[in-house]
Symmetry: C2
Subunit: 344 residues, 2 copies
């Protein structure tokens, strides 16, 4: 592939289109030699944030679409009623391979619905999954599913493992990713009916995958595993809980610091340490969560995405497209299906 | 009830019997006018940590038991094979009402098994639940189940709500506890099959309970709800994840602080702020997790419990016994069963 073209949903997100356009400018400035940014949305609104100088210098393309799906709209209805919504147009262009990746900070339900209906699932994929990156002392861990599904079956969890493995290899360059199954207790006999059955499937597929067995809630952040697989309910609860833990700790410390001049001085001295921690825990650095299992590269960014978060999401989208993540997930799952049929 | 007698499993926990005995001494010193401590375990080992002065002055009783269930032993087998294990003896004494509460930092599986088989469930209770206390800006939130069960049904979640409500009222003095259902998404139509059905049951029982609807992972720590109900798999994953978030943040900050003299000075100035945050997040302050739904007051402490954590667990056990928590849960569930039969 020459330079991958990354479609950016200019109308999705709490700060759209401003922070989306700003993030696109940052991405074009920083990664312009590696990818081409294509902004999709209300053209006059986009142009207001995109100076003529930017357009000429950075070569950002703009594709007009006349409709927008709001953050709180019911996804399926909105998809049906708004064929010219920015996310729907972006998905159509991805399907037609006019672009090679898609980034949206919009309504997550609408992105998932639009991807499922507009792109379809890869052959053999039973359920798509949203994967998120969590920081570990030595790097990252990919946690999936974090909310594409509310109920999962053992085979879904097995496929999440395969998809996560391919993504960690292709986008994060982890050669032989360690894959763990999120469970309560480490022994293989432990867990819910779902995790016990998924454990069995993953054991059987161990030849194709570096399955390290069960991991617990406390292991997600330690780096024990490169990929941690769970059902979308559990994953979504953890993701949202994690965000709130960080917020609560920051608020508590900040309130205390304000209460005494001595603390203010101490906090001043420690500012770089706090920023370092904040960066480590900051979703902005990780560039959004890929939707895996659909026929194309789709990156979902946080609704509150800043320009920096959008820039990183565009970078991730470009990398995933260049590495052919979707195709490789399809190939790997096809091999798995053959193996399962052969063994039985 | 006169002074409740609280049985303490002297042999359970990573630092047993030393920290258990020390915690019992602290409890007797601090709450001796409100409760009576009864240490159960290997008498010579207990006496080594309990000076004669302590015994006379504090009136701590010691009941000898000859066996111990290890932290990693399979619970059901251990229960059957070791009738004189400290936790089994303690449960038997609770059943016979020779003591009124039981505290153990031992093997959680063994405590649950011993309670289920030795005490039995309260009439009408389908499944017991372990409840844990999490800190919120304005107080606490009770989260249950955090691991007594690995698979749950809608009616189990409903009963957890009733049990959590009674506990919050009786032990934390919350008059009309706000009860939330942990879910992905706030709308009542959202969630897994399990949570959708549980939502319906909780809606129907709203007259008996201040059910505030779905809460998300991010709401657990905010204090939106006084009681948050979830299945034991999700709850256990969150609990273990939460512990690791705090540890990771502390380690990261500590490593950074060591790297520069300026940071060390800043950290020195901020020491009271850090201790405050640590205390807020510290399980030691909250005194262990009650096992609700069994016929007696059982408090499970963290395996790593310090003396202070044991002291607080003993206090909680005493309060729960004095307030008749188990009996009140039984009465409330009986009323609920009548209502459900009447409405049909």
């Amino acid at each position: 592939m020459a330079k991958p073209r990354v479609a950016v949903d200019a109308m999705g997100g709490d700060h759209a289109p401003q922070s989306i356009v700003e993030g696109s400018i940052l991405a074009a400035e920083t990664f312009g030699s590696e990818l081409q940014v294509v902004l999709i949305g209300d053209e006059p609104a986009i142009r207001r944030h995109l100076s003529l100088a930017d357009q000429t210098r950075l070569g950002i393309e703009v594709v007009h679409s006349s409709e927008t799906i709001g953050m709180a709209e019911a996804a399926a209805t909105a998809y049906r009623k708004k064929p010219d919504a920015s996310i729907v147009v972006a998905t159509r262009m991805l399907k037609a391979r006019q672009v090679h990746a898609l980034v949206s900070a919009g309504n997550t339900g609408a992105v998932v619905t639009s991807s499922l209906l507009g792109l379809g699932r890869l052959a053999g994929v039973q359920r798509p999954a949203i994967a998120t990156i969590v920081p570990t002392p030595t790097g990252h861990c990919l946690l999936l599913d974090v909310g594409a599904n509310s109920d999962s079956k053992p085979m879904h969890l097995f496929q999440f493992a395969v998809m996560g493995k391919v993504y960690a290899q292709q986008v994060y360059g982890v050669e032989n990713p360690k894959v763990g199954l999120l469970n309560i207790g480490e022994e293989s006999c432990k867990g819910s009916d779902l995790t016990q059955q998924a454990h069995k499937l993953l054991e059987e597929g161990r030849g194709q995958m570096n399955f390290i067995g069960n991991v617990e809630g406390k292991d997600i952040l330690t780096g024990h595993a490169d990929v941690v697989v769970c059902d979308g309910f559990t994953g979504n609860v953890i993701l949202k809980f994690a965000e709130s833990v960080v917020n609560m700790a920051v608020q508590t410390v900040r309130r205390e610091i304000e209460s005494h001049i001595k603390y203010k001085i101490g906090a001043g001295l420690l500012r770089p340490v706090f920023s370092g921690l904040k960066n480590k825990l900051n979703y902005e650095e990780y560039g959004g969560a890929p939707l895996l299992g659909v026929d194309g590269v789709v990156v979902i960014s946080h609704g509150r995405s800043t320009a920096k978060a959008i820039m990183n999401a565009i970078r991730v989208g470009g990398t995933a497209a260049r590495q052919g993540v979707a195709e490789k997930i399809g190939e790997e799952l096809a091999r798995e299906l053959q193996r399962q049929e052969a063994t039985g």
